[in-house]
């Protein structure tokens, strides 16, 4: 079911067009990823979708409401790229004062348990590690039990373990509550579990589809052959049968081989001619 739709979304800053005529649809319960390099227009898009900035032109529709509508604001949660909580206050004060800013009742205890905040509840936010802060940031974004959660590059600078832990909780929330998640990222592995991916570059959507379809459409499987003299050769192959055929022919000549399907990085490279990082 369609939850949010944006049509011809454009944002111009003075003489620079940050986002240029983007169309997108976000379905209820989906995990949608915006993938693109820094400066591609991902954050600008998110800021327009959350109503923080107004588009120069274009429409955003959420159950027939506009983004400036307070009911809309009430149904979304946002994890900002840089932290917006107060370093001087404890985790408890940060979360509880934000909770008081909403009229509807909140389920703080649930968030404490889910994000494992009990042990850091009375610590100052400023004294927490990057991973702990991110957990608190996400808990804050979920204080009003939103239907739609926006995460703007949430895992930048976090280690793999913390990233995995955060995604475990978010995936669990999606299962339990049907939460819809919109993520911007330049970590390719984070998009692998997305239901739908928009690839953005220079303010435009250059490709969109499910991960599988994007990989099928824009990449080929890569077979790398390693020779005893240390040389190697990369070959694009259509399927496993083609790979087996090549390997059989070269079995005497090669010392080793590697076979991997195309990744989102290959998709991105093939689309833009550059790597994402």
């Amino acid at each position: 079911m369609k939850l949010l739709q944006a049509t011809s979304l454009t944002k111009k800053f003075k003489n620079k067009t940050a986002v240029n005529g983007i169309n997108l649809t976000i379905n209820k319960g989906d995990f949608v990823a915006f993938l693109g390099p820094n400066g591609a227009g991902k954050s600008t898009t998110i800021n327009m979708l959350t109503g923080i900035i107004q588009p120069t032109s274009g429409m955003i529709d959420f159950y027939g409401k506009s983004t400036t509508n307070r009911d809309y604001r009430n149904k979304i949660g946002v994890v900002f790229q840089s932290s917006v909580l107060d370093n001087n206050l404890s985790v408890k004060d940060n979360i509880m004062t934000r909770a008081k800013m909403y009229h509807k009742p909140t389920q703080i205890q649930l968030l404490i348990n889910k994000f494992d905040l009990e042990s850091i509840w009375k610590q100052k936010y400023g004294s927490l590690s990057g991973g702990q802060r991110r957990r608190v940031d996400i808990a804050r974004a979920l204080v009003n039990s939103p239907e739609l959660l926006f995460l703007d590059e949430p895992s930048t600078g976090l280690d793999v373990r913390t990233r995995t832990a955060i995604w475990t909780v978010l995936n669990q929330l999606r299962r339990d509550t049907g939460l819809t998640i919109v993520l911007t990222t330049h970590y390719l592995e984070e998009t692998q579990t997305a239901d739908y991916v928009y690839i953005i570059d220079q303010g435009k959507i250059i490709a969109e589809n499910t991960v599988n379809k994007l990989q099928k459409q824009y990449t080929q499987n890569i077979l790398t052959l390693y020779y005893p003299n240390g040389e190697s050769k990369k070959l694009s192959v259509n399927d496993k049968d083609h790979a087996i055929e090549i390997l059989s022919k070269n079995s005497q000549a090669i010392s080793d081989f590697e076979y991997r399907p195309g990744t989102m990085n290959d998709v991105f490279m093939n689309l833009t001619g550059k790597e994402i990082h």
Partner: protein, 289 residues
């Protein structure tokens, strides 16, 4: 809105160094007075009996004006910091309306101003009671409380107008320093208003500061003035009041009620300016979004 007020209050009072520095202007005037100002003034008013008992509440009156100016500025600075750090974008997502957000910062600032003025009053009052055997008159507490609310309101609005034009946290520190230093002069604490050249006096009179000090001093010094000047000619009392800024001189000495009327008129005028600016550009006052 109570959530935001609660958060803003915690932000102010949790920051110990911030609280300390917001009282810097007030403390400077207090220390300068103890170090040498009081002695100078006692010498100049030697013919008045119990000069010390007159000058202690005189200093308190001026220092409370400085406190009102600097602490409300410090509290309101949070608004600029929140704007620069994108905290307002997050708060704007909550159920508090745009007007509510503005109001919360104003209420917080007023609350901080009142609390800090009362704390300073208690500290200085107790200090002078111990050191100089000055009277700590609890009967005037309701008037003092009323004045602290009025000063807090006026200076909050004044600082709101001032900070409307400040976009960067970096500028805040500079403004804080300027206001902290200037407030002591404008409140007539470092140098009594009557001893300054006329131009300087006129400049001071176009700000609310000397009226604020005058009102405080009127309330605080009333009993002691009657005692000290009981055996002196009335002209001496009115000269003392004019020179020391206990009543502001507008060709004739203003009464307490007139001081208050002018002070409230300032508040009304500044409120109107703030309102007009907020109508012209919402961005100027609060939000950069």
């Amino acid at each position: 809105m109570s959530g935001l007020i609660c958060r803003n209050l915690k932000m102010y009072f949790n920051d110990r160094s911030g609280v300390f520095f917001s009282l810097m202007g007030a403390m400077i005037s207090f220390i300068l007075y103890l170090a040498f100002l009081s002695q100078n003034m006692i010498t100049s008013w030697a013919r008045v009996p119990d000069t010390k008992l007159l000058l202690d509440p005189w200093l308190i009156g001026g220092t409370l004006t400085i406190t009102a100016i600097t602490t409300t500025l410090s509290s309101l600075s949070l608004m600029v910091q929140d704007r620069e750090n994108n905290v307002l974008e997050d708060i704007d997502l909550t159920d508090i309306s745009y007007v509510g957000i503005q109001f919360a910062y104003i209420v917080t600032s007023m609350f901080v101003g009142v609390i800090m003025q009362l704390i300073m009053y208690l500290i200085m009052g107790t200090f002078f009671m111990i050191v100089d055997n000055s009277m700590f008159n609890l009967m005037i507490f309701p008037q003092m409380f009323g004045l602290s609310v009025l000063s807090s309101f006026t200076w909050t609005i004044f600082n709101l107008l001032l900070l409307s034009f400040v976009k960067k946290v970096d500028t805040l520190g500079k403004i804080g320093t300027i206001i902290g230093t200037a407030s002591g002069f404008f409140a007539g604490v470092y140098i009594p208003i009557g001893t300054l050249p006329t131009t300087m006096q006129n400049l001071m009179k176009v700000t609310p500061a000397p009226y604020n000090s005058a009102m405080y001093r009127d309330v605080l010094m009333n009993v002691q003035l009657n005692k000290s000047f009981s055996k002196l000619p009335t002209v001496e009392l009115s000269k003392f009041k004019k020179v020391m800024g206990i009543s502001v001189d507008w060709n004739r000495a203003l009464t307490f009620q007139q001081d208050m009327l002018i002070f409230i008129s300032f508040a009304a005028l500044i409120s109107l300016c703030v309102f007009l600016i907020s109508r012209i550009s919402r961005r100027l006052i609060l939000s950069k979004v």
